[in-house]
Symmetry: C2
Subunit: 350 residues, 2 copies
């Protein structure tokens, strides 16, 4: 029997394409044929028209050793985070989630009580966001823990906001504050290293509760979607910030066929985030641009709606949509203009 991995086959390493290059290549040969499919791959969620409100479905994985480390991620928080990460994708379409399905693969190092901890976290998220656990699959895994969740939501067709809807001159906005989850992760990684070197050391997470919580127990911006509905605000494009602001701006620009500029001074960041970044010898803005896992919303707004958001809490205008030919740039405090890259603009590659 020849191995199905077929060593004789041409071999291209996945890292040469990157995650998004791989997805583009895999999706390219697929053509949508089902009349109900309104949005296929390439947005925060798929959108289906089954006759009433639109159905939205999004699915995401958390894999041990890739997305989390059980040395510092409590199982209850992990369940909570897995749920929130998926719900965030539904909110990012300006829709409301109703159900969650949970697939979980477990090696035999996990006891029933450990699994119950995960589900306690999932249940807390279900309560907090008013969604139901509606199904899923449980299986053993030869090694490690992984979670694959599916969120189902709904919205009136005309209220759904896609990534590709931004227009020239639209304002670019974000919610909340950025970079904290990334610095929380750096702190946890540092404590883990110190603990491994000297197991009698007590963790010194001091004043960093906020940063740690943003990493271990993020929230989805359901409140912003409610605010949009109350204030009759309809963004022109939207997505959630899971991979970092810079990378998400690239997605939004590409799908809208536009460029953008971002004012460094407009990027919202908490003082403790900036302070901790400096403590690690990192540039705070780079952490906000490339850190990821903030689960805030990035959206664009028609300028005529700007008065509606001006006095709303937790929403910040950070830039503007420009022609694609003008590219994607960051205007720094010092008056400089840098081409932004999906990896942030400088420090991570130094």
């Amino acid at each position: 029997m020849e191995s199905p991995l077929e060593p004789s086959m041409k071999r291209t390493e996945i890292h040469t394409l990157g995650e998004f290059g791989l997805i583009d290549r895999l999706m390219e040969p697929f053509k949508a044929v089902h009349p109900s499919t309104r949005q296929g791959p390439g947005d925060d969620a798929a959108v289906m028209d089954y006759g009433g409100e639109m159905t939205l479905v999004s699915t995401d994985m958390l894999i041990e050793g890739i997305h989390f480390d059980l040395a510092y991620h409590p199982l209850k928080h992990l369940g909570y985070k897995a749920a929130v990460v998926n719900l965030s994708d539904i909110y990012a379409m300006n829709a409301r989630p109703g159900q969650l399905l949970v697939n979980i693969g477990l090696s035999n190092r996990f006891s029933v009580e450990a699994v119950e901890e995960i589900y306690t976290g999932i249940r807390a998220a279900c309560r907090r966001y008013g969604v139901d656990l509606a199904g899923g699959d449980t299986s053993s895994s030869p090694r490690g823990l992984f979670l694959s969740l599916t969120a189902v939501g709904h919205a009136a067709s005309e209220k759904i906001v896609y990534r590709g809807g931004a227009a020239l001159g639209d304002f670019l906005c974000v919610t909340g504050d950025l970079g904290a989850a990334y610095l929380g992760l750096q702190l946890l990684e540092r404590e883990k290293r110190l603990f491994l070197e000297n197991p009698s050391l007590q963790p010194d997470l001091g004043e960093s509760t906020y940063l740690i919580e943003r990493q271990l127990k993020p929230e989805a911006r359901a409140d912003i979607i409610e605010l949009f509905a109350q204030q009759d605000i309809l963004p022109t494009a939207m997505m959630d910030i899971s991979d970092g602001l810079a990378s998400e701006i690239f997605h939004l620009c590409r799908q809208s066929g536009l460029g953008a500029f971002v004012e460094e001074v407009g990027i919202p960041m908490r003082p403790e985030t900036a302070f901790q970044a400096v403590g690690f010898g990192l540039d705070p803005v780079t952490c906000a641009l490339s850190g990821g896992e903030d689960y805030e919303l990035l959206f664009t707004l028609n300028p005529r709606d700007v008065d509606k958001i001006k006095y709303l809490p937790d929403i910040y205008i950070i830039g503007e949509m420009v022609p694609a030919a003008d590219g994607i740039h960051l205007h720094t405090k010092g008056g400089h203009r840098h081409a932004l890259t999906a990896q942030g603009w400088t420090h991570f590659s130094q």
Copy 2:
């Protein structure tokens, strides 16, 4: 930092509960609150009411080393099977699938070409069943390959068939033939052992094409759902046969609050399946009852509808629903009556 696995915690091993015991225990504290949830955990798919036709969502995993072995499972067939297994759950609700979302975790031993093979199989299934690939997530995995797929479907509310709808006196029916996928797996496992002992040996799968194909490239019974629609047949309860006939009969009985008897002589099996079972020293009926992975449909029918199915191809009456107090029994060819267990009734435990 204390480990989140909390060794001080009471430890119950998962195998002491079994998969279904674990699921029951994990799901018990969840209460449905969202007004759109029509069916939560416990059926082949979740059912949501968003105003038009019902939306159905089902999700399932295939994990390397648990559900498949790449020593004999070609990647293309694996992609096809992963899709079919999920679509089968939608058909099992008497609904039609429209979309598929694919999460895939890959270690670095997989090349881009290998991943494309998997997606070629998924695409073949999408074409065959007329569904769209509508999204998903791609991630690296520290070890091994796993697939977590989500199928989305639709049906008019009154056409959906649940597991719990069987009534006393209903006929118990199955489609197709049973046991072949299990014997296909035994053949592949045997060839793998022989190959590992002597890599120069050529596989001798001889006359067993059908059995091998049932294991490596199963099909979902879309045709039966179409037949039901054409002939105006509405089963009272239905599910697909993924874990084995006996286990599925237990689910259907439990959820319908009934017992059942099964006529051994009624269980459909191909001659090559029975022949191969005997070749392995296995009881053919036990293979059909407990083999699993057939992806046929198990359903119950009101006796007044029996004339509608009498002359339909590939549908077999195998028994009848009886009061719960009468239990679940197999009537053998020899006139004996055995209490059926979810594991089959005898030989596997010998």
